[in-house]
């Protein structure tokens, strides 16, 4: 097990295009780090530089205190799960898992013991003699993980390991990976473009955009205290709504009426002309369903609902609004960068599933103004970010994790003791 430190890592391709640009990132020993971003942001390239499949143009890659820039992949002692699993089709499951051990000339008895152990963890026993071609997608995925855990590697690297599975299996494997990582307590770097995986698996998440790190923080901090427009728009599904706003004293005028800001946030945005206010869908509610006690904490507004989507446990309403041209083009660029195509300026609003708000009618909504963020539309910077609160959230996540790891490992020891 080892920590991974990246110092000013740059990856430049032949044409001078920097796929990864000046990335510095410290991954602590035993930490679960997620690299996330839209396609083409350099997350996979970064992972492949850690494992050594991609040359590093400049900067230092330090694993376990040793600079590994010039080491071949096999000398780095890392294990990796590929997106398409890359199982060896001519070998049985047993030999697939044993492959790294065979290469290191481990003796037969030891190979058998370690493969059996890995197969125990992944419940692959009845498949050991089969060939990968005869396995289902989830089983292949487990074999790929078996090959990774059989060796005592310094760290695990995952390159979008679940993207080839269907949604149900993906959920199962996600919890499986999380449990495995806690149990083995091994440093893990996990590349994904999936929101849910990023939010649920990671101790910390590193958001990349065009080869540059935007923010590295716990999922909660990313969600509640995003550093800029990009992170705010990327994290969260459905995404955060960005409304044009003009400050007037302590309040912002938005298409959905005035938004009241507290002293601190008002000071942060003072003196600017045009702003973007970021509001998560769940900060909205059907006004008729809001408690009297909560009502004064937000503002009320009336708007015409374009479409509603009822999903059983929740309900979304789409509210179109007018925005100045400069904002519209800004938002369109952002959504394109986030791999989506926003055709019209509309707010997505999460309302209670019992709400009877109808499509095409005007309705009254309530907006919780306590947690809205205000962004500078040109630089994208979050003007109202509370760095301290964010750091507190990440701190809390770290403490939680330490506790979980301890518990998971104590549980494992307990079972071992029980077995003995």
């Amino acid at each position: 097990m080892a920590s991974i430190e990246m110092r000013n890592i740059v990856k430049q391709y032949g044409d001078g295009f920097p796929a990864v640009n000046d990335v510095s990132l410290d991954i602590a020993d035993g930490e679960f780090m997620i690299l996330v971003g839209p396609s083409g942001c350099g997350k996979s390239t970064l992972l492949r530089m850690i494992v050594g499949l991609e040359d590093i143009s400049s900067g230092d890659m330090v694993i376990g205190g040793k600079r590994v820039n010039d080491l071949a992949p096999r000398e780095r002692n890392l294990s990796m799960v590929f997106q398409n699993y890359a199982l060896y089709p001519h070998l049985t499951v047993f030999e697939n898992i044993a492959f790294p051990l065979r290469l290191s000339k481990t003796d037969d008895a030891e190979v058998r013991r370690r493969v059996t152990e890995a197969a125990d963890v992944l419940e692959l026993h009845e498949h050991l003699e089969r060939k990968p071609a005869n396995l289902s997608g989830g089983q292949r995925q487990r074999v790929a993980m078996g090959r990774a855990i059989v060796r005592h590697a310094e760290a695990f690297l995952f390159d979008e390991p679940l993207s080839n599975l269907d949604a149900k299996l993906r959920g199962q494997m996600r919890t499986e990976i999380s449990r495995l990582q806690r149990r083995l307590g091994i440093t893990t770097v996990y590349v994904t473009h999936d929101q849910t995986e990023a939010m649920t698996l990671g101790d910390r998440v590193c958001v990349l955009r065009k080869g540059k790190i935007q923010q590295v923080a716990s999922p909660r901090e990313l969600y509640e205290q995003p550093v800029n427009l990009f992170v705010a728009g990327f994290i969260g599904s459905p995404p955060m709504n960005f409304l044009p706003a003009r400050p007037e004293g302590n309040r912002l005028t938005t298409p959905f009426g005035p938004v009241e800001l507290d002293q601190k946030r008002a000071a942060a945005v003072a003196g600017r002309d045009l702003l973007l206010v970021g509001i998560r869908p769940e900060y909205f509610e059907d006004a008729s369903l809001v408690d009297e006690a909560k009502r004064p904490l937000g503002t009320l507004f009336r708007a015409r609902v374009d479409v509603t989507e009822w999903l059983g446990d929740q309900q979304y309403a789409y509210i179109p609004y007018e925005a100045p041209a400069e904002i519209t083009s800004q938002l369109r660029d952002l959504s394109r960068e986030l791999d989506s195509e926003e055709l019209r300026t509309q707010a997505i609003v999460s309302i209670d599933s019992t709400s009877r708000i109808r499509e095409g009618r005007e309705a009254e909504f309530w907006l919780d103004t306590r947690k809205v963020h205000v962004f500078d539309p040109t630089t994208g910077e979050n003007l109202t970010r509370d760095a301290e609160a964010g750091a507190r959230l990440t701190q809390m996540a770290e403490e939680d994790r330490a506790e979980q790891v301890q518990e998971a490992q104590a549980g494992m020891q307990g079972r071992h003791a029980g077995a003995a």
Partner: protein
Amino acid sequence: MSTKEKTWWYVGGVAIIIYALFPVAWIVSLSFKAPSDIANKGFLPTSPTGENYSTILTGTASDLFLPALRNSFGICLIATFISCVLSMFAAYAIARLDFPGKKLILGTALGVAIFPVISIVTPLFNLWRQIGLYDTWLGLIIPYLSLTLPISIWTMSAFFREIPWEMEQAAQVDGATTWQAFRKVIVPLAAPGVFTTAIIAFFIAWNDFAYGISLTSTSVARPVPAALGLFSGASQFEDPTGAIAAAAVIVTIPVVALVLLFQRRIVAGLTNGAVKG
């Protein structure tokens, strides 16, 4: 598929099989005819005889045929083996590495492949005589390599390109050197490709006539196709048709056997299951 369509497929298939196999059947039938029976104006021999086979295997023509058979096997197998090994490395480099002159190599290989054999036979004849390669095994293996290598490189690089890059990278991450990754992962996966290439290369070498007849003079190195042309009848008034037919049948057997033996390996998509299904 409708019944009507199916019927047409069957009719078409049978027609093609007859068209392709009729000459073979004719040769087989010829090989069982006695010399006096050859002009019997019938497809089947009047009374089947093994005379032709005994002539070439034990009789008068055996001095010509048996050494030629041995030469053909030896020369073709060695040429096939060398060309497979060389083209495996060449094709791997072409499929995996990005180096200047890659297109040039492939282009040259193609150019060599389409170069007419007959135009270099005469210069080779002179050169071989001067450097002592005339009428030797090596003197045939080298030109056979020029025939088989280009096509081997082309087919093999197509097979290597099919193997996902990740297989090799996974092996490297698992602790393999480049050579180990090649030997333990790439070669087993490319096996169907190697077999296919080997069979094609063997056929090309086996079927050669121009080099065989021009660059040899004795039974030291003369291959079968050349030897067939030198058969003579029992007397100068008699054609050795039956003996040639019998030899042709024998020469065809290894080719057919090879295909039957390896067809499953050729067809088997071994990479199936390597990546997501």
